[in-house]
């Protein structure tokens, strides 16, 4: 059957069914179009970019959600700056919230209360802003996991992965600096923690603390400084990096999942104009609309319930926003290691889980594409995504990382786990100390086994077809389930991936100890071996043909038997 690979505007099947109508369109560049073309070359831009093809898949929307949440953050954030006062000057509250009349509080908190009670729509916008921040980081995390598990970070997209890692880490700072601004009891407690964290840095900790807080905690400068970080510095860098991120997506063209007609040399999908302009543009409004509805119906960060910051008070169950939970957990379960040496104090119990763990995560994320490329020796460009099962070691590593993160995150709620499940807080803490190490190992083993089983299932399916669900009884009384052959499309999709081979050791240094270009050390070969050794081989063309013949034989054998019995 002939299969179209190009769109034909005069598809006969459509023409016969379509109601007749006048063709509309622009016949020539004139007016504003011509004016712009004469000045900025609009024609060239439209010719090159308007019909750019993007592939369709639900998981490609995750990054879009992150992008649109960021736009919502910018829009709602501008509204909030109209009223918010980033000042730690103590004033007496005289707004309309009766329960706090006359209480001393910072101007920042008073203006957060004014936004919540005196500005119409202020609380709505505050809540949209907070939900958008939470969605922003959640969508970004999901997007990053999609990229990881499908191998979209491979050549030529390593730089875009690095930009993504930078975006991720900066967003955490953006979120944290944001929820520290209202100067309520919860946000002040968060800042108290930051003070302790900054202090714990060996050698320069005290200096960093005095420079950040302009002296002692809490001081009078921090909120104004955080405000600058939150509304200018970080969003500015985020915008620039997002611009670079998107530019590279356009330059590389989007990756696509394997399927009929999808190859490393093409991209199959719908054109930017009009389909993706409407779909992606519409999706921005969907994300924005859902965030507004969340802001309208779901209360978040009710600062008036917490009260103004008082450094001698705290509430039980104080928790940061979800994305800082893993750091919080690490801080909670860390054993109390501290070294006292010649009149100095080295706070490993804060520095390692706080600064160290964050550094470790983002470093591990940043170097992963390069480590994998080194292990696999893979230098080719990849535009077709991996099905996660076809990269079992990578998938298992990813799930192990997620599990480790989840364990730290759970540990961040060890008090809630203890009270909700009526177990000992101490026991929860001890268990989590072990779980952060053991659970990832288990997750790695289990995930790898699942991937290999799925690979085996694919192989079975390719060789023997799909189960028909019909049990046939043969004339001699045997029962068998006939298998239906796969469609060509599915057989291709299941078998199109490359069968990777580990790199083999070769002479990596010459007699004088000088590295040989292209040499593979024994250690590298060993890692490569570990990475690939369990992969299930996909069937070869010969095996497939043999299996098909066997299937035909089986069918004719059964027929022969019937004939024999008939005689």
């Amino acid at each position: 059957m002939a299969k179209p690979t190009q769109i034909t505007p005069d598809a006969p099947v459509l023409d016969t069914r379509r109601p007749p109508g006048k063709e509309v369109g622009v016949r020539q560049f004139s007016g504003i179009g011509a004016w712009l073309d004469d000045r900025v070359g609009l024609g060239k831009i439209a010719k090159g970019g308007l019909r750019k093809v993007f592939p369709d898949h639900w998981s490609f929307l995750l990054g879009e959600i992150a992008l649109y949440s960021f736009l919502v953050l910018l829009i709602t954030g501008v509204f909030l700056t109209i009223w918010f006062k980033p000042s730690m000057a103590e004033i007496e509250y005289s707004g309309s919230y009766q329960l706090m009349k006359g209480l001393p509080m910072s101007e920042a908190f008073a203006s957060a209360l004014a936004l919540s009670f005196d500005v119409r729509g202020g609380l709505l916008v505050r809540q949209i802003h907070h939900w958008a921040a939470i969605l922003f980081i959640a969508a970004m995390t999901a997007h990053m996991l999609r990229i990881f598990f499908t191998g979209a970070f491979r050549k030529p997209r390593e730089l875009n992965w690095l930009i993504g890692v930078a975006l991720m880490s900066l967003s955490l700072i953006a979120g944290f600096s944001g929820y520290s601004l209202p100067d309520d009891l919860l946000s002040g407690t968060g800042l108290r923690f930051v003070d302790g964290l900054v202090r714990s840095i060996p050698l320069i900790g005290t200096w960093a603390e005095f420079f950040v807080f302009q002296g002692e905690f809490p001081g009078s400068a921090l909120i104004a400084r955080l405000y600058m970080v939150h509304i200018l510095l970080i969003p500015g860098i985020l915008l620039a990096l997002i611009g670079a991120h998107m530019t590279m997506v356009v330059y590389h063209k989007h990756t696509q999942f394997p399927g009929p007609g999808r190859t490393e040399k093409n991209v199959v999908g719908y054109p930017l104009f009009p389909v993706y302009m409407a779909k992606a543009g519409g999706f921005f409004f969907v994300v924005f609309g859902v965030l507004i509805l969340m802001g309208a119906t779901m209360q978040i960060n009710p600062v008036w319930n917490f009260g103004p910051y008082n450094p001698s008070q705290v509430t039980a169950g104080s928790q940061p926003d979800w994305y800082m939970g893993w750091v919080e957990g690490a801080i909670r379960i860390m054993p109390n290691l501290e070294t006292h040496l010649f009149g100095t104090t080295w706070s490993w119990n804060i520095f390692l889980p706080g600064v160290g763990l964050m550094g470790l995560l983002f470093t591990a994320l940043g170097v992963y594409p390069f480590v994998e490329a080194w292990v696999t020796g893979d230098k080719t460009e990849h535009h077709l995504l991996d099905r996660p099962r076809n990269a079992p070691t990578r998938t298992a590593l990813g799930v192990a990382g997620m599990t480790c993160y989840a364990m730290f995150w759970l540990a961040g709620g060890n008090d809630l786990l203890a009270t909700q499940f009526k177990v000992s807080l101490n026991a929860v803490t001890y268990v989590m100390r072990v779980a952060v190490f053991v659970a990832p190992v288990l997750a790695f083993i289990i995930t790898k086994r699942i991937c290999l089983s799925l690979q085996r299932a694919d192989r079975e399916r390719l060789l023997h077809g799909s189960e028909s669900g019909i049990i046939e009884r043969s004339a001699v009384g045997g029962y068998a389930e006939p298998h239906a052959p796969l469609s060509h499309d599915e057989a291709w999709t299941l078998s199109q991936h490359a069968q990777h081979e580990p790199v083999e050791a070769s002479e990596s240094v010459d007699a004088n100890g000088i590295p040989v270009p292209g040499g593979v050390s024994a250690r590298r070969a060993q890692w490569s071996q570990r990475f690939f050794r369990d992969d299930i081989r996909k069937p070869t063309r010969a095996e497939l043909e043999a299996a098909q013949e066997h299937g035909d034989h089986a069918a004719s054998d059964a027929a022969d038997e019937v004939k024999a019995l008939g005689h």
């Binding site: 179209p4 190009q6 459509l14 069914r17 379509r18 750019k52 093809v53 000057a89 004033i91 309309s96 809540q127 108290r192 923690f193 302790g196 964290l197 202090r199 714990s200 050698l203 005290t206 002296g215 002692e216 905690f217 809490p218 007609g261 040399k265 199959v268 999908g269 009009p274 409407a278 779909k279 999706f283 409004f285 609309g289 507004i292 509805l293 309208a296 119906t297 910051y309 001698s312 039980a316 909670r332 009149g343 100095t344 080295w346 706070s347 804060i350 696999t376 020796g377 230098k379 080719t380 101490n426 803490t429 060509h488 490359a498 069968q499 790199v503 040499g519 069937p539 063309r541 497939l544």
Partner: protein
């Protein structure tokens, strides 16, 4: 990272056991094939968009008509009417635009997939050669081939600019040198004779009024004489204490601290030695004090030693006594800095297990 090229051959791209069937044939949608269905989709989209102006106007009406404080209760949840209806009308209006646009793309726009060719991200050999020509022409014309020092001098000059850029930040905060530290983070406003007061009602604490097992959150009376808001917060963050009364027979009081307490009434810093949360969860029977932030637990019946959690140092104890009228007063400042650790902190003076 650089790799050799020999491994390209190990990752064969063309060894597919099944040939590529090519892009699936296009199947016309119902809305393409059936004129009535197409018209229905069209009407649906118009209907969605027609609601948007209605909602926008209702939204504006809500803004002016609904009082800010009006609220109502739905199954136990209290909703502010203004927030809720502004959000519902606005959110729905925005959402409808989105749904209409997506529906337009899905039901009306041509849905035939098209293929676009990809090209390698890198440049071809010819482009690279041409680029090299230009680069070399530039290098030659710049004269750095013969006058190499220009580049080094330029780089050095720019690098030197980092010095004023960094120095310019030196005033971001006071320098925590020894004197400054002793004046700030190593000192609180507790001094000899300062009364312990309840931190809420500001009333002085009388030894005879404190019952066995009771915990009172305290502050120095002098705190409330500070009228500068920022200084008040700084001092409160360090001076906060908890005052507990325990049965002297059931607790361990080391010899050096016999004079620090009044008949089993002890005062400790309220600021956790971990990251500085104010500790407040009092387990009366065990004499343990639990920090709600990270669950460090201190034994107040044993000089504030850590019994659980990430804190590494005992809670500093404030030496107290009674004045002539029977009110609790401090005997002086804490003997060690309160709060979280910092690099220059001399932690050898903290109370450790086995100290007397």
């Amino acid at each position: 990272m650089s790799h050799d090229t020999t491994h390209d051959a190990l990752v064969p791209v063309g060894d597919h056991p099944v040939s590529d069937p090519g892009i699936e044939p296009h199947v016309p949608r119902y809305t393409d094939a059936d004129v009535a269905a197409g018209n229905n989709a069209y009407r649906r989209i118009l209907g969605l968009l027609a609601l948007v102006p209605v909602l926008a106007i209702v939204n504006a009406v809500v803004y002016f008509a609904v009082p800010r404080t009006a609220s109502f209760n739905v199954i136990g949840t209290n909703f502010n009417a203004s927030v809720l209806f502004l959000g519902l009308t606005g959110g729905l209006a925005v959402l409808l635009i989105g749904i209409a646009m997506v529906a337009w793309a899905r039901d009306i726009m041509t849905d035939q997939e098209i293929a676009e060719e990809r090209h390698p991200a890198g440049s071809s050999d010819e482009v690279r050669a041409a680029a090299l020509d230009k680069i070399n022409a530039g290098i030659a014309e710049s004269g750095v081939g013969r006058r190499k020092l220009i580049l080094a001098a330029l780089g050095g000059g720019m690098g030197a600019l980092a010095i004023p850029a960094v120095v310019l930040l030196a005033d971001m905060g006071p320098w925590p040198l020894g004197d400054e530290r002793r004046r700030t983070i190593e000192k609180t406003i507790w001094t000899e004779g300062v009364r312990l007061v309840n931190d809420v009602n500001k009333l002085p604490l009388k030894a005879s009024d404190i019952e066995l097992g009771q915990l009172v959150n305290g502050e120095p009376a002098t705190l409330f004489d500070i009228h500068d808001g920022a200084d008040f917060q700084v001092q409160r963050a360090k001076a906060a204490i908890i005052v507990v009364r325990m049965d002297p027979a059931s607790i361990k009081i080391p010899a050096s601290r016999q004079e620090w307490q009044v008949n089993g009434i002890l005062a400790y810093s309220k600021i956790c030695t971990h990251v500085g949360c104010p500790i407040s969860l009092w387990e009366q029977q065990t004499h343990h004090l639990l920090c709600p932030c990270h669950q460090s637990t201190f034994d107040l019946g044993n000089s504030g030693l850590v019994v659980f959690g990430p804190a590494a140092r005992a809670l500093p104890q404030l030496p107290i006594t009674v004045d002539a009228e029977g009110y609790l007063v401090a005997r002086g400042d804490f003997t060690v800095p309160v709060g979280p650790s910092y690099f220059e902190r001399d932690s050898s003076k903290d109370f450790k297990e086995g100290d007397q």
